[in-house]
Amino acid sequence: MSDFGGMEDLLQDFLQEANDLLSDVDNKLVDLEKMPDDRALLNDIFRGFHTVKGGAGFLNATELVTLCHLTENLFDRLRNGELELTSELMDVIMDATKGVREMFGELGQLVQPQPADPAVIAALKGVLSGEGVVAASPPEQVQPATSVPQEPTSEPDWSALHAAVTRDAPSVAPTQSEVITKAEAAIVEAAATSAAVVAPGGAAAFGRRATDRPGGQPTSARRAEERGRENTIRVDTSRLDQVLNLSGEIGLTKNRLTSLRADILAGKNDSETLHALDQAVSQLDLLVSDLQNSVMKTRMQPIGRLFQKYPRIARDLARQLGKDVELVLAGEETEVDKTMIEDLADPLIHLIRNAVDHGVEMPEERQAAGKPPKSLVRLEARQEGDHIVLIIADDGKGMNAERIRAKATEKGLISEEEANTLDERQSLNLIFMPGFSTKTQISDVSGRGVGMDVVKTNIQKLNGSIEIRSEPGKGSVFIISLPLTLAILPVLLVLLGDQPFALPLSLVREILPIEQSKIQEVGGKETLVVRGEVLPVITLARLLGWPVERYPEYGVFMQTAERSFILAVDSFAGRDDAVIKSLEDFRPKGVAGVTTLSNGQIVLILDMKELLSDLGQHSDFGSAVRALDFA
């Protein structure tokens, strides 16, 4: 059941807009810490809470109204210079913002928000009543008699005044005093709850810690809300116009083709007609690819939408750890497929937390090393060709390959011998192994060693890759590379006999002819030396469990995150932009999906990682291909 009979649409609009607004407020709060006297910032933040309050009123979200109202009043005092922004006050503000966000989460689940954390309300009222943050000790604060008359009710004669000033009948009075009574009741109620909650413990429930913990109801509520919003997207109308325009033009070209077809069927095949046909078809070609691009663009969103949440996260975490960190954003305007933005949220949060927690040092440590006490974490996005590159860089202490290797052996993730064969890059990559965590003491910040491997898996699910560069003493850089869209996959078409297969082009380094005489057996495995590097040769036919009829002539040099190898194939048929069709209920191992070639032939797109994961077990795949043959 919903608390918003008939208002669900409005609620969705409100949440989308209010969430954007709140993210903006969050960022401005981070800026405000640097420039506490900036009036423009204070004004903007004030307006943010004010606007949310106004909208919340129409949704009858009384608790949200109360919280925003108090926070807004606080900013009113701040911008009028009646209050000074101390770091304690900043904490109160941050908690209030967090409370507002949690309420958005509840609204997203179509329930009226619960009263805000009484400690937050008490703290806000404490500040507003001039008692300061410290005085926000619960027992005094919750006396409704002292804290309530603060606000609207302190002007009991306002309606008469309005009437006097406007020479208007005071008929407006009932509604407005109604509003006040309502607000008053809400405040009293909140205060009462606060008393009930706080009194028994005696020790103050006040403080950030209690609300800061990850997990728990509010967080899950927020997740659910985010999932709920995945179905809608905001698109610039000019982009939609372009789609409309192109479909119109395609319609016209189709008409032209229809009339040409009639001509040709009637036996008209002079060069002029054929030329016109040729022209129409090429035009259609162009228009369709333009249309595809335009439709794709409607799914593209600036990544800044995602980025804007992070300065606040970095700031909160740094404060908690006693570090001084500034998160610098760049390339927020870079556009990324919407689904990808959603799937990137968690990995990026993790990497940022990781940088703040493990990457950068404590201020004293930095100063001792001759660095500025404030550390910089840079989050950058940019488009490079047909890829999106995301960079998370810190100027911390860097990673120690030696220590990482030692830790991995100690944890039994790799053997001593394996550790000795690893080069610098491979050693750093060990942190992506499940169960790896360099901090002996588990911090509740960057998780429990269930982080980096998940980050990597998530990135790979998006057909992306992640790479680490690190310089001891200078810092670490994580580089994520992603395809522009998930809908179109550039592939290399290879042939086994006459049967084509598609390989993701992103994994292909080069294609080389295989001379059988150059193949060397090492430890019973076939290898080939390419420019000094010994690479295993894997025969695609064998991988699929097909009989090897003749020795493959070509090798495709492929590189996945884990390994480099040569995939031996009979021949290849060139590259193509595959539109991936997923196999819904029938997904054999090693098949990422299917695509259709220009001649109508259906081709399987291979998932190399899955195919390689268990060399030799292929019965599943063989039957899948056969099943497809019958289809």
Binding site: L10, D13, F14, E17, A18, L21, D44, R47, H50, T51, K53, G54, G55, G57, F58, N60, P152, E155, W158, L161, H162, V165, T166, D168, A169, S171, V172, T175, Q176, V179, I180
Partner: protein, 131 residues
């Protein structure tokens, strides 16, 4: 004076959800000829274009706030007759005085229902009829 249902409204608010709310409430009251503006500056531009008969504006907006918009309307010869209903979340006397002094035709506090809005509008129509 009975209100003309074709009367053209301009709803000014920086929060699009709020514009939608006001638009819906106006529709409930039978007024369907409604245009929107995101802030005072844009509103003023639209008003200069002509054709509007009623302005419903929020107070707190970026670029140009509702009060400045009201003052600008009253200072513009071809617009100064326009009825302007101010919307705000505040029921503070300073605000009401400021609005009244600037020449607001009415003042309404968020949140409000179609009934309250109708009451306010009718009062303004009445006054216009007397004038």
């Amino acid at each position: 004076m009975a209100a003309d249902p074709k009367m053209k409204f301009l709803v000014v608010d920086d929060f699009s959800t709020m514009r939608r709310i006001v638009r819906n409430l106006l529709k409930e009251l039978g007024f369907t000829n409604v245009d929107e503006a995101e802030d005072g500056a844009i509103a003023l531009q639209k008003l200069q274009g002509g054709g509007f008969e009623f302005v419903v504006t929020d107070w707190n907006m970026p670029n140009m706030d509702g009060l400045t918009l009201l003052q600008s309307i009253r200072a513009t010869p071809n617009l100064k007759h326009l009825p302007v209903l101010m919307i705000t979340a505040e029921a503070k006397k300073e605000n009401i005085i400021a609005a009244a002094q600037a020449g607001a035709s009415g003042y309404i506090v968020k949140p409000f229902t179609a009934g309250t809005l109708s009451e306010k509008l009718n009062k303004i129509f009445e006054k216009m009829g007397q004038a």
